[in-house]
């Protein structure tokens, strides 16, 4: 038994090393190696609405997009800034209510309310979270979990913004194609924007804050200011998703603060692959349609969902995307030891 012991050896493919620098433009093969995965993602997302069988699945894509945006923001905060924010519902709710109120009371069209909700909502969320930014780990996680719940109860208790019924009869998008492509384009912009951002100077500082915030502070940088900007970016993405959701259904209600918007993105994040940015988007596009398929079994689908989540976090914590990346960049072989 001992003599035949083997282990798996993993080596980078030659082409991965060749494409890491300027020489990647030396031949078509190298260019293709870099471009194909990105092109598959972009074109895949753009073609997706065209190949879907019916209206029902096209609506599912819109919801999926919302979850994907939240998951993307969660990944950015968790893996590049070191903040675990369970406040997906906070962003959705604030963005949704800002859009809903400006549409219903001021009569603005969606083309205006969505940008307004994105910016104003992000400012509101950042101001709400600003005092909690010095908190770490579980404390920040709990406070972000509590914010949507407390806003929910306050709206209920004060009967403002339509109370428990919410505001309905808001403007919707002209047709289903606008619905789908709006969210898909925003996902792509946010995805590639964040990928660029984390490699810029501010991204490096944020990563430094994640690894050792005291060291960053000792370098004379105000970590709260950097964290606030990171939260603003995430909140803007989340608030856009909320405003989009409001206009997608033409109503806004306290269900926007529901726990779903905090949990589903995290599941997508875990399944898709933490720390890859594209992974959570992929995870959302796998999990949300899966929930729709499971809709027949009712509330039991949340059970299935949670079991998948636990299984991934326990047995496959790297997630799908990192697995694919490994297969793409490296080859494996068995060697004798």
């Amino acid at each position: 038994m001992e003599s035949t012991a083997r282990r798996k050896e993993r080596l980078d493919r030659g082409i991965k090393v060749r494409t890491s620098g300027i020489y990647s433009v030396s031949s078509l093969r190298e260019i293709a190696y870099l471009v194909v995965p990105r092109a598959v993602l972009i074109l895949g997302l753009l073609i997706l609405p065209l190949v879907l069988p019916n209206r029902y699945w096209q609506r599912v894509i819109c919801r999926t997009g919302v979850i994907a945006l939240l998951a993307l923001g969660f990944d950015f905060l968790a893996d590049y800034v070191g903040i675990i924010s369970l406040g997906g519902a906070l962003f959705i709710g604030v963005g949704g209510y800002v859009a809903g109120v400006s549409n219903a009371w001021l009569g603005l069209p969606p083309a205006l309310t969505i940008p307004i909700a994105t910016l104003v909502g992000a400012v509101i969320c950042t101001l709400l979270l600003l005092p909690c930014l010095p908190l770490r780990g579980i404390y920040f996680a709990i406070i972000t979990l509590m914010y949507p719940l407390v806003l929910h109860r306050i709206i209920e208790a004060l009967h403002i913004f339509g109370g428990t019924e919410g505001i309905s009869g808001l403007a919707t998008f002209p047709n289903i194609w606008v619905d789908q492509y709006l969210v898909i384009v925003v996902i792509l912009v946010a995805l590639f924007g964040l990928r660029r951002l984390v490699n810029e100077d501010i991204g490096l500082v944020l990563h430094g804050i994640k690894d050792n915030d005291q060291a960053v502070r000792a370098s004379g940088m105000n970590i709260t200011w950097y964290k606030a900007r990171a939260v603003f970016i995430t909140a803007a993405i989340g608030c856009f998703a909320g405003a989009y959701l409001t206009h997608l259904y033409g109503l806004v209600g306290i269900s926007m603060f529901s726990l779903d918007f905090s949990i589903l993105p995290i599941a997508a994040f875990v399944v898709g692959g933490p720390g890859t940015l594209v992974g959570p988007v992929l995870g959302a596009f796998i999990l949300t349609p899966l929930t729709e398929v499971l809709r027949e079994i009712g509330t039991l689908r949340i059970v299935v969902y949670c079991l998948v989540l636990v299984a991934f976090i326990v047995f496959k914590p790297e997630g799908l995307m990192k697995y694919f990346q490994r297969k793409y960049h490296q080859f494996e072989r068995w060697i004798k030891v």
Binding site: M146, A157, V303
Partner: protein, 286 residues
């Protein structure tokens, strides 16, 4: 007077709910977000033993508490043990387990369920009529707290729990198995959640949503008192318990939950380690 008495009862309910959560966090640093799920799990199990299987009430209570403790131990042994130390994974895994249990129960138990009161009587104390069950809750809370205090101060395994809570590395060097104490703490915490459930649930219906509220209360009390702090949990329970009763009386019952959430947020902002928590200090936590 009635405010005082109901405030005390309410505070002790909070204390019962939160003790299990704070015990687990104090010993093993695990935020057990499945706490609320274990609580209603006990309630439903008692109901099943009592009504479907026809067991006597006392026996079904004991059985369901034991099973809940086992469930807690099993969850640790097979799931938490693998994610321990990774904060995000702990939170996500325990929350997902809790959600799975609660939504599974929602599927299994549609309709209205209630377990009977121990003694169905009203008594009058200082001119305030009060249900016997609420007095029993006071007794149960005192017994649980006293038991845990004696357990952690005079038994070998209880002292091991405190040692791990104080300084994990030093305790491990002295031969205390960190995983074993974590299993014990989780089993004990779940059992306490179960005791709380059978004491409190006879006051109303057993619903799945109770589980979410219980989790919120447990977190709120632990945060206000300081996560993992023993005296803090008692003080936190009284602050929130009286806070809620006073709010319901002077402002309006719909603000009760806002008080709880507001307390969490304010305390976290002003003193993240809670009123009595000593963060980063070698302080007794159990």
């Amino acid at each position: 007077m009635s405010t005082l008495i109901y405030g005390i009862v309410n505070s002790l309910i909070f204390l019962l709910i939160a003790v299990g959560f704070t015990l687990v966090y104090g010993v093993s640093r695990l935020p057990n977000f499945a706490h609320g799920a274990l609580y209603i799990l006990t309630g439903f199990m008692t109901w099943v033993f009592l009504n479907t299987l026809g067991l006597p009430y006392a026996l079904s209570i004991v059985l369901s508490i034991i099973i809940t403790a086992l469930v807690g131990a099993v969850i640790y042994r097979f799931i938490f043990i693998r994610v321990r130390g990774m904060e995000a994974s702990e939170i996500i895994a325990s929350f997902a387990i809790g959600l799975a249990i609660m939504e599974g129960l929602r599927r299994g138990f549609a309709g209205q369920f209630a377990i009977p009161e121990f003694i169905d009587e009203m008594v009058v104390i200082f001119g305030v009529p009060i249900h016997m069950q609420r007095l029993i809750i006071i007794g149960v809370a005192l017994v649980v707290v006293a038991f845990l205090w004696i357990f952690t101060h005079y038994t070998k395994i209880g002292l091991a729990l405190r040692a791990i809570a104080q300084h994990e590395r030093a305790a491990m060097m002295l031969g205390i198995d960190s995983d074993l104490t974590a299993i014990v703490s989780l089993a004990l915490g779940s059992a306490v959640a179960g005791v709380a459930a059978v004491a409190i649930l006879p006051l109303g219906l057993i619903t799945v949503d109770t589980g979410y509220n219980v989790l919120t209360y447990a977190i709120a009390v632990s945060i206000v008192g300081g996560l993992g702090s023993w005296t803090g949990a008692v003080i936190g329970a009284f602050v929130l318990g009286f806070g809620q009763i006073l709010t319901a009386r002077f402002i309006g019952p719909q603000w009760q939950m806002v008080v709880v959430f507001g307390a969490i947020i304010v305390v976290l902002l002003v003193r993240p380690s809670g009123l009595f928590g000593k963060q980063k200090e070698l302080e007794e936590r159990v």
